[in-house]
């Protein structure tokens, strides 16, 4: 089920919310409403394809069992380690099978010069998210940081529907105490007002903004599968896709937080105005924050982080980012996207070290022109990388980049954009929203709708907006909600979030 889908908006969500608070009203025992929410989340997941339900249930049961074995107090460290290794193998094995088997076959086929028929595997939705969530949990149980005995609570931790398909990747320490807490027993008017407003903003962002940019980007990227495209079209497509994925993911994150807050549960902020970043390091602290945290804490640090010298640090960075790229999907383009970001990070860290050694550079980085320049340069690098992320295959990305930078001699005349000036104005407006307006975290600062899992410096915001339950905000929210619902009714099931496929 999609958050933008009729079934969700008009049936699942209202019924789920109603059931939750009716049960909370009549039953003191938190287990009842936890179980309700867990079952509802499984219904939400199973609505896509009932076959997926079996996969996630098997994964939950196996991981819960492993967590019990690993968490046993009288267990020796060696046995615990063996269980953890087995659990990781099972989890990663499942992920590799469902997500990477066909890619692997394709690569082996290319090397061997023999094309293998692809296996008939359907990728279960959100497998990367629920696998990583559980791996995090198992590792922490092994470290002695957690051990959840309550099975329904564990099921809810993995399946809680606002995060299940596209994150954030939850950390048990942040979520477990909230499930069944007394604060989540009553739905207050202020929570309802705040939750609906955040949800409406997300709905509007997704269906009115992100999907509009998709209409600009998709036909041009599709054309670039077979040939180069005119330079303006190429830039329109690249910038539009950058804005599409930004608003798409931002919308999902907002909607997840808005929905959660109605259940009295605060999800981590997973998105913090990443296009306001003035470096790639900062970008990764603002984009998909929970994934960055996972990669840092459970991969980069485990590899040794920066403890073994500069060279090893760069190597670890590169490995982390390449795997981060592949986490998004099995394909050469994802690999290249991850590699590119690995390179960016290496250069960024190198530059920082240089700045520390050369005071003039450090001084310059405080100047306004430098900040603006860095903002634009970071954005350019991000856009170039997005071309790989979006492209169907390498040739598609190559055609796009050649077109963007006018490389190659192929003369292309047919343009896909009716009014280039107006289109660029639209793109400019998109970037203005990204760079000048506050995000949900800033707008609702006083109301605390989410958890801040990474303490970023306040990003610069030209326009200050603070939400309060005033008439003006009610009217704005009504407009957002109306337009969002209208688009949802028009689009039907045709507007999935980009991060659903990962």
């Amino acid at each position: 089920m999609l958050f933008t889908q009729i079934e969700f908006l008009f049936f699942f969500f209202p019924l789920c919310l109603l059931g939750y608070f009716v049960l909370a009203r009549f039953f003191q025992n938190p287990l009842i409403r936890i179980t309700w929410l867990a079952v509802a989340s499984l219904v939400f997941y199973g609505y896509w394809d009932k076959h997926f339900l079996k996969i996630i249930l098997v994964s939950i049961v196996i991981n819960y069992a492993f967590s019990c074995f690993i968490g046993k107090r009288d267990q020796s460290l060696k046995v615990k380690r063996s269980f953890l290794t087995a659990a990781l193998l099972v989890n990663l094995g499942g992920l590799v099978y469902y997500k990477y088997a066909n890619f692997g076959l394709h690569v082996i086929g290319k090397i061997a010069g023999h094309a293998f028929d692809p296996l008939s595997i359907v990728l279960p939705l959100g497998i990367s998210f629920f696998t990583f969530t559980q791996i995090t949990y198992l590792v922490d149980v092994y470290r002695g940081q957690s051990a959840e005995k309550n099975f329904p609570k564990y099921v809810l931790f993995v399946t809680f529907f606002p995060h299940l398909i596209a994150g954030p990747i939850l950390h048990h320490s942040e979520m477990m105490p909230q499930f069944g807490a007394e604060t989540s027993r009553k739905l207050s008017y202020d929570k309802l007002a705040m939750g609906l407003t955040i949800f409406a903003i997300g709905l509007f962002k997704k269906l009115l903004i992100a999907d509009s940019f998709a209409l600009l980007a998709n036909p041009i990227f599709n054309q670039a599968i077979v040939a180069q495209v005119p330079i303006f079209d190429a830039w329109i497509a690249a910038l539009s896709y950058s804005l599409q994925i930004y608003f798409d993911f931002s919308a999902y994150s907002d909607m997840a937080i808005g929905i959660s807050i109605l259940f009295g549960i605060r999800l981590p902020f997973n998105f913090d105005s990443p296009y306001k970043s003035r470096s790639i390091i900062e970008f990764w602290r603002r984009w998909h924050i929970s994934l960055s945290r996972f990669l840092r804490d459970y991969l980069y640090f485990e590899l040794g982080g920066n403890r073994k010298g500069t060279l090893a640090r760069y190597g670890n960075l590169m490995i982390t980012m390449v795997l981060g790229g592949l986490w998004h999907g099995a394909g050469i383009t994802y690999l290249l996207w991850g590699t590119l970001h690995g390179l960016y990070l290496m250069v960024n860290h190198g530059w920082r070290n240089l700045c520390k050694k050369v005071p003039a550079l450090l001084h310059m980085s405080d100047k306004a022109f430098w900040k603006v320049g860095m903002l634009l340069f970071t954005q350019l690098m991000v856009v170039i990388a997005w071309v790989f992320f979006k492209a169907e295959h390498f040739r598609n990305a190559r055609n796009m980049l050649y077109s963007m930078f006018h490389i190659g001699s192929k003369k292309v005349e047919q343009t896909f954009t009716n009014d280039i000036g107006l289109t660029f104005l639209f793109i400019f407006a998109g970037y203005f929203i990204c760079m000048a307006l506050p995000n949900i975290k800033d707008m609702f600062k006083e109301h605390n709708p989410g958890l801040e899992i990474y303490k970023n410096d306040q990003a610069s915001t030209l326009v200050q907006l603070r939400w309060t339950p005033t008439v003006t905000w009610a009217v704005i929210t009504a407009v957002f909600l109306l337009l969002g619902i209208s688009m949802s009714l028009i689009m039907g099931d045709r507007s999935p979030f980009l991060y659903f496929q990962f």
Binding site: E7, Y189, A193, P469, A474, A478, L481, S488, L489, I490
Partner: protein, 390 residues
Amino acid sequence: MKGRTEPTVASQSKRYLIILAIPIVFIIGCVEYIAALSGESYSPQALSEMQKADPRLVILTKQPYYTFKLARYAQEKPEVVYIGTSRSVHVRSEMFKPYNFYNASLSAWNFTQLTQFLKLMLEVHHPQMIVFSLDYFMFSHDWVRGNRKYDDFTYHPGIKSHFQAIGSVLDLCKTSPKKIRALLPTLIAGEKPIEETDHMRLFGMHGIHNEAGMRYDGSFLFSKGQLQSAPKLTVTETLIQAMPGAAQMDPKEIEAMKEFAKLARDNGITLVGIAMPLFKGSIDYMDTNKDYWKQAGVWREFNSPESQQLFAENGIHFFNMARLKGNDDIRNFMDGYHPNERGVLATFVELSANPEFRSLFSKLEFDRIKKDYANALENDQLFEIYHDKF
């Protein structure tokens, strides 16, 4: 003196929620009203009744085609019914006279769906004969997979179709506000909006918007704009892009075909499979293109004597008209794989020379069909040859 008390957060939020709800309830109410009046939220049965009462009515709402087709089928109880893909939407009842005929095309894209649709048909009426689209791509795994979303057809769509109806009205508000404005006086007066076009009467927001819809005999009326641009689409690649090939016929689909044929046989229904013409350029591509050779395996296997034998063994009278004489004339097509009304008429003229077809449809007015085709050629008519004749 009592001082004014500051509003609490709860009361502020309560007021906020009320203000938020008012415009939403009002606008959704308005859209519901339009949907109710314009036919968008009518049940398929109600739409079917309307068309029965007024055969010039061309109906198109955003509801799935097959629900309306099933309702019309239940109402007409035809002797001969055509089911299948969009390749047969131009088959007209005049081509099957004097049989009581209904064209229920756009109801099934693969054999599983054909079986499903047939089961539903049998619940209300047993036709004597079913003519169905039988094409090579129906045995391609990718085609079947690509159309799998239709496997969960709900022939009684329920509440979801109501939301689709509302979406259809909103869509029209977005894409064609002028049209909505033009219809407003009619809607405010509480009357059904019906648009006259070329002696036909369009009903349903979707139909009015697209100037298209389903005629009384189940055939599809396309908009003038779409018909004008049709020849431009007749390029070789359209078939290849739209209909995925395969190295061979998928055994699973062969089994599904057998199941469909058995269901028809068990119910005493004669099955006639027709492969409608394909544009010659498309066929040549499949026959000769080296890059597409492997993917064209399913096409070659479909045309093989073994497949003809397979169809015959399962009681299917198969007429492969893909290589129809005149399939090199783009004016017989809407694109690389959709014959237009003249193309379909040409198919029937050629079928009239086939003794097996003649014996199956002994009552057909073959001479009149030939005359109609000759007239269409003479008058250079590609579409609307039978116009409002049913």
